[in-house]
């Protein structure tokens, strides 16, 4: 229960700032279970005395822990170790080109189909818009070391991204183009599993009936739809990895 045990060791490579040390001390006690969920953390004035610093310094450490949901702060009552409600994992979904090149593999891209049209009823439903503006529909394939990696089926709303009309999607994959031309979007991903149909199997060079991982991504920016994309990955070779810290 004691907070002692951490005088600045002279051997420490580089001592972090004080508030970071306070934060790490408390975080360590929580993560090792020394302070279990529900445990009350020492009051700010106690930590002030313990670390011989001002209240603002302690407060900064505790505020960051509260932001990270490791503790809960309640007025008059104190700060308490939280028991996390849900396991939230951070799933990194990179731009496919970046993902492949980061793996040290050569990236390949083939445009299968690209057409501009007035949004059909199906297009509007998929984009979640009611007015029938122009859209671009793209089908393409990504490969790593000349092995098919994923097939992409995308719709871009030209009323939100008019510049897309002039982009050359035969040269640059639409995901990369959008990433550089429409930053700071919001998105929702839906992950599911299907078996490959004829068209998908052919594009991915797998057998019909093989499992595929499907990611549907719907992207918007300030309440305006940007794009809707469906990616098929060969399910037996592709993996999505999500790390998390929680309870």
């Amino acid at each position: 229960m004691s907070l002692a045990s951490d005088q600045a060791r002279p051997g420490a490579a580089e001592k972090p700032t004080l508030y970071k040390r306070i934060r790490l001390d408390i975080e360590t006690r929580i993560l090792t279970g020394e302070w279990p969920p529900g445990h009350r953390i020492p009051f700010e004035h106690q930590l002030m005395a313990r670390y011989r610093c001002s209240r603002m310094t302690v407060n900064k450490a505790l505020s960051e822990l509260a932001q990270a949901d490791l503790i809960e702060r309640r007025r008059r009552a104190g700060s308490f170790v939280r028991r996390p409600q849900h396991l939230s994992a951070v799933l990194k979904i990179s731009d496919i080109r970046a993902e492949i090149t980061a793996l040290g593999r050569s990236y390949g891209y083939q445009l299968i189909d690209c057409r501009r049209r007035t949004a059909t009823a199906a297009d509007r439903a998929r984009l979640g818009v009611s007015t029938a503006g122009k859209v671009i529909a793209i089908a393409c394939r990504h490969s790593a070391d000349d092995v098919p990696f994923a097939v992409e089926d995308r719709l871009i709303d030209l009323s939100t991204v008019p510049e897309a009309a002039t982009a050359d999607f035969a040269r640059e994959p639409p995901g990369s183009w959008l990433l550089h031309h429409v930053p700071w979007t919001e998105a929702e991903h839906t992950i599911s599993a299907v078996v490959a149909d004829d068209r998908t199997a052919k594009a991915l060079d797998i057998a019909v009936g093989s499992p595929c991982l499907v990611i549907d991504r719907y992207t918007w920016r300030s309440a305006r739809t940007v794009t809707a994309v469906r990616l098929h990955y060969p399910g037996e070779t592709h993996r999505l990895v999500a790390r998390f810290k929680g309870g």
Copy 2:
């Protein structure tokens, strides 16, 4: 470019604190694209003048934006709107029982098999441990409104969680038991797609060859393995949803 336009409106329901208003103002400008990636945010002393407050208040707002990766702060140079490198989505993976009851459906649980044994070579590989301690191997099924929802295949390392030996997994699902008895763990999820084999198809009441979404979760706590679990979901009906804000 001007930062004006936000005098405290009398009609505003409840005015947030000043630093939150500063943070929201800047966040809005970034998210709407008014300040694109690379744009330099006004210096702290400029924001002090703009909002007529002390530097610490401005600093708190900017620090939080930096923590959220919306801006990058560089000494002597200033603060700049970041271009996010990767699309990181937050995937909420709840305890299955909690997930089903949250949907307003009735939760059902069937223990298929539960045995305690000395870890085999396969068990050790799966848990990532080298010594052959005791483990519990569990197979069970979760259902929602009496429809199979997921099948679970789990290994618990008894040298990390000795209390698990006394738990009654015929009554309580192991995921829920662990969540309440071993808080604050870390985990890695791997998501993939397969087609149902005989055993899985029977347990989920689907056809052999149907697609299944597979989640492998490997959980540890302070460098000690806790559990490894593989979940099969019927791929055509189950969806994983991940929201994200980024670029």
